[in-house]
Symmetry: C2
Amino acid sequence: MTKIPLPGTPVRGSKSGSPIMALLDLLGRRWAMGVLWTLCDGGVATFRQLQERCETISPSVLNARLKELRAAGLVDHNGKGYVATDLGQELYTHLEPMGDWAKKWALTLKD
Amino acid sequence: MTKIPLPGTPVRGSKSGSPIMALLDLLGRRWAMGVLWTLCDGGVATFRQLQERCETISPSVLNARLKELRAAGLVDHNGKGYVATDLGQELYTHLEPMGDWAKKWALTLKD
DNA sequence: TAAAACCGCTACGGCTATCATAGCAATATT
DNA sequence: AATATTGCTATGATAGCCGTAGCGGTTTTA
């Protein structure tokens, strides 16, 4: 079982666990942002639906990321499936503009 | 040598390499956002200065991330040291608000 | 009521990424 | 000529990730 990075506990880049470093540690794991993105972008989803939406994620990693995101209060599981919490949605509003930025980025790289 | 995720090439979560998935793959690597953050937040830095600022990053990983970020056009090296490009700075403007958000997040988790 | 499908996972073995530490060749400084 | 600084690279250990298979439980279908 992996250690879950939370503010106030030692994380990568900050022994005291500064909030931003804890966040970057949390999100800087394979599929962490992808799962949050997929969940916010597509709405409620069961474990297996999430798996499908992510196309190539393995269940063990999906499970690990979900545990972390839940512990961080970004994702929750109501009886029906996994959902982003208000906190998670709020973080997503910062993530979302990166979608448009990425398109521009793709064009820039063509030259 | 690791494959560098760029839009248009197969990446995690998208075989066609959709821009956002390429970006999430690029940034979803250990220290990727941390390096960009540290560089933008603290200004130009030599390899070793970056290493110090990141506190616990190993030179091999720093080197790997720098290669990727340079290939992605987010970071560059002028004779003096490493710098974020205009593109990199622009992406950072989307990253930066997460700093404040993270502080709020830290408070929320205390309850 | 029995079969089929779906639920959230977990186990496994193999590969890749990351880690900390040491050190090297080249240039700049003293 | 010696020292310090530059950007890395080598190494060997550990942790993370991958794909596949499948389990025990609930819900839906025939």
